[in-house]
Symmetry: C2
Subunit: 489 residues, 2 copies
């Protein structure tokens, strides 16, 4: 501490890291608790791994490099090994499953939530630390394992508070895309990539733009030209038929897709898997509006090996458009193999917790932000014990309460109570002491009047801004004010 | 992924980091939820800061060094500034309070929980990442702020499940020790240190050993000699009177202490503060057995500036001795000053979450470890939809349930259900399908029989190991088994 006299650091958080206070934390906790309860009802077990993994176990340290990728926060341990903060929850799961495979009851279902860290350029709304919430099943190749994950996502969003119909799970299978490429006669890998890229632009460019990109190419508004996949007309028709196969229920989609990709090994495998997923979803009570087959989903195809899922929010414009996907997942088979050499089937889903919180807020379904405690003013130093006893009585009655602990006068104390979001202030000064009474100020009402809500006169008649109660009855009087809430008369 | 063919990392967690599974996580979550509810009832607001702080803001980067202390996990950001993972929750609070002081309602009460990281040598039970759970009040110099923190700790331990009487808060004030040194005529700083060190050994050496250390010195069993503080006899008597002043209630302790340290400025200040703390505790309903004044507590005196608290567990030997302190705190005034230059009074308490969890387990008061889900066996691939529907019906009735998703036969599936801790296995094979029934195996009973609990014959008469129910009634039949629980007949 000797340097303190010479050196004063500036108080600031590192770039890309954020301080979060009660309203954000209450909303997040509500989501995580609700989703965890759904996961546990499906038999998923919570797992928590450490923040660090060896960089090689994360796949972020290639053997010919002298340090891990820039994308992770890495440092060298005192035994010279590189360790890095996890950048997702899947890589630690793969390490855990590979390490303990022999002792795990298999298939192994686990869920996890916790922060992950990305060493990327921060920007507005782009943090270098954020919450993830994942469920994965390792060791089952059954398509029903995918269906279960999808059903949990559907139930999880509902449990978190999204209104019915606000969210749809879109399901695809990369084997269908492989079957499509076979059906369209695309064998060249460069051409394959061009087709997938064109398909991925459907949302942005529409069918017409995609058609150009599948053919000779497309010129955008600025005049810039993007070379196309140069497919022949029948192949383009196959791709367009594939992209148009969604809608009208899961079975109808499968029937249409069978006409496009059926016949190839890949296509038939993909169709059979989706068929089983569809049946299991139906038996799990997941209806068509909650989870649909959508062949245009091409999310993470370099990563997923079978089924792919994406959760999309359907809020009307102004209600929260622009959230994009609020979660996603799919089947991946190679992650554990990185350690063991054994291909291990796995499937999982990741909730986008902060996007979901934003969507809940926009849809009006967010948890009411936490109200402050009742504040007992400290007006007479000789009465501090009495003030503490009163706060204690309020808490015993289930009402959060605190005594003001500064040394300022009445006005700053009232301002403090207001800034704390207190529903009421409890006042015992000389007059009250002499009379054996307590004055209770209704601060919710004060805030509403200040905000110009309602007709002041009417308010005052049936809900005075301040009441006086006998000391013996003050808890009941505070309760009446607290329970009347900020939005009722 | 091209390197995967050549390089297989070993699956292992970094040294000092631990994977935690459901039982440990359930116990921790119960503690944190209970303590958070108590904190919020006292008006404390949750705050979560990022995992990283600038190393200078942590006080872990002295300006004349070229990198931060070894004790933290630190790395250089791409703008060359050193950032480090927080090693406690107090330093980030100080940074946050200093950064946002102008906009905070003051005094500022906050609680926080989350992992902290220490870059130390790991060992058995010594991790480099662990959970902390803190409450602090910043900006109040009132001793009542200390009392409130103590009352929350008392209520927090009870809410977390510690039985009544299992935990005592011991309270001291470093000003009393300063007053004692004045009373004993100790002015030399080397001699002061020797006295404090001697007092700190009371638990280990007893009064006789401390007496030697206050005087000429002490020879231990091995013959090694420790030089003493070389106090004169009357000064030694003062220290011994001080150390013996505890017990018999808070007021009695204060009265005895007044006779030893009263009269000096420091001693009188300390006595007055403890007097106010004692009165507030009484009004908060904290009785003498829950929080006592104990002058021998010398915890963290280089850090705390006034009141000091320590939570000690009182379990009989064999019930969990050796836990030592399961939490502690005190008043500190200089932490925010490091940034602002302004002395800011603060007081706080930190729960030792993992020690508390261990104490709860030892006292038999730990949360029952999470039971596994009911497992519906997958015996017939054509019936997967039916199995999913049955699991869904169980969940709708509030019973956690899963379908076995592997491809093994009946015996491995039963073994799986047992390893999952399932209370029951639900069996629908050919016979049941033909008869429209469901067989339910009571796995709790099976485990108890295997463990030799009770008389096998008696068990079997009133609780058969397996029952058959009509398909339409199977949920009720499963519920009867699940609710009968693992410990009842």
């Amino acid at each position: 501490m000797t340097t303190d006299e010479f050196f004063r650091p500036k108080a600031r958080a590192p770039r890309g890291f954020v301080d979060r206070r009660a309203p954000a934390l209450v909303a997040e906790r509500k989501i995580l608790d609700a989703v965890a309860a759904v996961y546990e009802s499906f038999g998923f077990e919570r797992l928590e791994t450490g923040a660090f993994e060896y960089a090689d176990a994360l796949g972020k340290f290639l053997p010919d490099a002298d340090r891990p990728n820039d994308g992770v926060f890495a440092l060298q341990d005192d035994d010279e090994q590189w360790i890095a903060l996890r950048y997702d929850l899947t890589a630690p799961l793969a390490r855990f499953a590979a390490e303990h495979w022999d002792i795990l009851a298999k298939p192994f279902r686990r869920y996890a939530f916790g922060p992950v860290w990305r060493n990327e350029k921060p920007g507005p709304g782009r943090y270098r630390e954020f919450m993830q919430c994942d469920a994965d099943t390792v060791g089952s190749e059954r398509p029903e394992a995918d269906a279960e994950i999808i059903a949990m996502a559907v139930q999880g969003y509902a449990a978190a508070g999204l209104p019915a119909g606000a969210c749809t799970l879109k399901i695809n299978n990369r084997k269908l895309l492989d079957g499509l490429l076979v059906a369209a006669g695309v064998v060249d890998s460069r051409q394959k990539l061009a087709v997938l890229r064109a398909v991925d632009k459907l949302d942005r460019l529409g069918l017409e733009g995609v058609t150009y990109l599948l053919g000779a190419g497309r010129k955008d508004e600025s005049g810039a030209f993007t070379k196309g996949a140069e497919l022949a007309a029948p192949a383009i028709q196959s791709v367009l038929a594939y992209l148009g196969a969604g809608g009208g229920g899961r079975q109808a989609t499968l029937d249409r897709l069978a006409g496009v990709v059926g016949g190839s090994v890949e296509g038939d495998e993909g169709l059979a898997e989706l068929d089983k997923i569809g049946e299991a979803l139906t038996r799990l009570g997941v209806h068509e509006g909650q989870a649909m087959f959508e062949p245009s989903v091409v999310r993470g195809l370099e990563y997923y090996t079978g089924a792919v899922f994406e959760a999309e929010i359907n809020l009307k414009t102004g209600e929260g458009g622009g959230f994009g996907a609020i979660g996603g997942g799919g089947r991946y088979d190679d992650l554990v193999a990185r350690f063991t050499g054994q291909r291990t089937p796995a499937t999982g889903f990741s909730f986008g917790v902060s996007r979901l919180a934003a969507a809940l807020a926009a849809s009006g379904a967010a948890a009411k932000s936490a109200r402050g405690p009742v504040v007992v003013l400290a007006l007479d130093n000789a009465q501090m014990g009495e003030y503490f006893a009163m706060a204690s009585e309020l808490r015993a009655a289930g009402i959060a309460a605190e005594v003001y602990l500064g040394t300022s006068g009445m006005r700053p104390q009232m301002k403090y109570a207001d800034r704390r979001g207190a529903p009421a202030a409890v006042i015992v000064g000389g007059d009250e002491l002499a009379a054996g009474t307590v004055t209770i100020k209704d601060l919710d009402l004060g805030r509403q009047l200040a905000a110009g809500v309602g007709d002041n006169r009417a308010w005052r008649e049936d809900r005075p801004g301040q009441i006086t109660a006998p000391r013996a009855d003050f808890v009941a009087a505070v309760r009446r004010i607290v329970e009347s809430g900020p939005n009722e008369t």
